[in-house]
């Protein structure tokens, strides 16, 4: 069990010792190790996207009482592989009136925020690429960068649909960031640390979701909106904006946006797991397996929500955020502050 728990750590230490054996000095070894972590994170991202695309379609089929993809391979397991190959061979069309440089840059940048965020998330005990002491703030900062590629994409396409989609995406993402930040703030007040691993370590006795249920609810709702998932998927609402900011993208560029969307869903679920559900902590099974299990449950709930609730109107969406979520999260901070003070001084 001990071995399974640390299997990835053994892997990295073997790679590290091979590099030192070849004879690089420590600084360069660290850089090469960073490259190894980067590759690992990219592999995780790709696998997550490949798996959850299929899983979502299967689950959607189950919810809507139809088989879902079932032709390619057993249970349609190779469907996403076929999709990936198809997208790879699709022609890349750049509209004549578009700003070509920015149209090219948007899919190039879209993958950076989720990768940067995954770098600071502990997948298991010590299983983290960069264990930053300001981990939470860093993740909030880099995930908020994800508005930029979306706006680049929407603006550079020079199309009314993409422009509307981009405007909606930005307004929605920046608005829903405030409740996310405030709900994480409440966790910081209890934990007294911004380090993700330390926050997980504190949840040994009691998960923070039981201490901060309101905070978790706000974080979850706002997170769904942040990742542009239904019922908050207005930026790409196909019945009104064809595909929102993605309208003018085709082939691999479109696939990159799609991949990034699933990755940011994964990042958000991983954040919720780390902050509220005790991260890698759990009995019997190895730590990383617990982490994957918890993330998987959250992803399932997100997908379930998507196929259950209808899309809401854009003014309702923003009103819900500014008039309900933000006041609720501010109240939650007040309650947490007084609660922590009383707990520290009188118990």
């Amino acid at each position: 069990m001990e071995f399974l728990d640390n299997i990835f750590l053994y892997g990295t230490s073997i790679i590290r010792s091979i590099i030192t054996w070849i004879g690089f000095d420590p600084a360069i070894t660290n850089m090469i190790m960073a490259a190894v972590y980067t590759v690992a994170i990219l592999v995780i991202c790709t696998l997550v996207a490949l798996f959850y695309v299929l899983y979502e379609r299967k689950l959607a089929g189950f919810i809507q009482y139809r088989p879902g993809p079932n032709k390619l391979g057993p249970f349609g397991l190779f469907q996403t592989v076929a999709d990936a190959v198809k997208l790879l061979t699709k022609e890349d069309i750049v509209p004549r009136n578009a700003d070509k440089a920015l149209h090219f840059l948007a899919p190039l940048f879209v993958f950076i925020p989720p990768i940067l965020a995954l770098g600071a998330i502990p997948f298991g005990n010590k299983l983290v690429a960069v264990d930053l002491n300001i981990g939470m703030l860093y993740i909030l900062a880099v995930t908020s960068l994800s508005t930029i590629p979306f706006f680049l994409a929407g603006w550079s396409s020079n199309n009314k649909y993409t422009m509307l989609g981009a405007m909606r995406a930005v307004s929605q993402k920046i608005s829903y960031e405030i409740p996310v930040i405030f709900s994480v703030l409440a966790i910081t007040m209890i934990a007294g640390s911004l380090n993700m691993s330390e926050v997980v370590g504190m949840q040994g006795k009691l998960w923070f979701v039981f201490v901060q249920p309101l905070s978790f609810l706000i974080f979850f709702i706002a997170g769904i909106a942040e990742t542009n998932r239904a019922p908050f998927d207005l930026p790409e609402g196909e019945s009104e904006l064809t595909a929102g900011y993605l309208t003018e993208y085709s082939g691999m560029k479109w696939a990159l946006f799609f991949l990034a969307e699933y990755c940011s869903m994964f990042v958000f679920s991983a954040m919720a797991t780390t902050l509220f559900l005790g991260g890698w902590l759990g009995p019997v099974l190895p730590g990383w397996m617990w982490f994957v299990l918890k993330v998987h449950v959250l992803m399932t709930v997100i997908i379930w929500i998507r196929w259950t609730f209808p899309r809401i109107r854009v003014d309702k969406l923003l009103e819900f955020n500014w008039k309900i979520l933000i006041p609720a999260s501010i109240l939650n901070i007040f309650a947490t502050g007084i609660g922590v003070y009383l707990f520290n001084n009188f118990f």
């Binding site: 660290n30 990219l42 790879l88 899919p107 199309n159």
Partner: protein
């Protein structure tokens, strides 16, 4: 400490390379036959009228402004939250003063109709 941020820089480069490589590989396999109808702006079959880079609904701008207030507060709030347990009663008093100002600004924006969709 500094090497941590070097890792982040490498992660950024990795993300860029991944996206660039994906586009490059697809460039090898894809057909390239472009003609004028194909590169038209897609607006569901209608002829496009004018550019879409024009003046836009102002309520989006107001949301961005209010967002900015909150986002700047965050820089002050996180250090305070980390040290919350150490500061004791002082932290509570500070919280009340700080949030009173924040909520006053928030309510003012609300009263002025910043969150109304015209």
């Amino acid at each position: 400490m500094l090497s941590n941020y070097a890792i982040i820089a490498i992660l950024t480069i990795g993300g860029l390379i991944f996206a660039a490589a994906a586009m490059l590989i697809s460039r090898i396999f894809q057909p390239r036959k472009q003609y004028s109808k194909k590169t038209d702006t897609y607006e569901c079959g209608f002829e496009t009228k004018g550019s879409s880079w024009m003046s836009f609904r102002s309520s989006y701008f107001v949301y961005a402004l209010v967002y900015l207030i909150f986002e700047v507060e965050v820089i002050f709030l996180y250090p305070w939250a980390v040290e919350f347990k150490m500061l004791g009663l002082f932290a509570i008093v500070e919280m009340i003063i700080f949030f009173t100002l924040l909520i006053a600004a928030f309510l003012f924006a609300w009263k002025e109709g910043a969150f109304k969709w015209y």
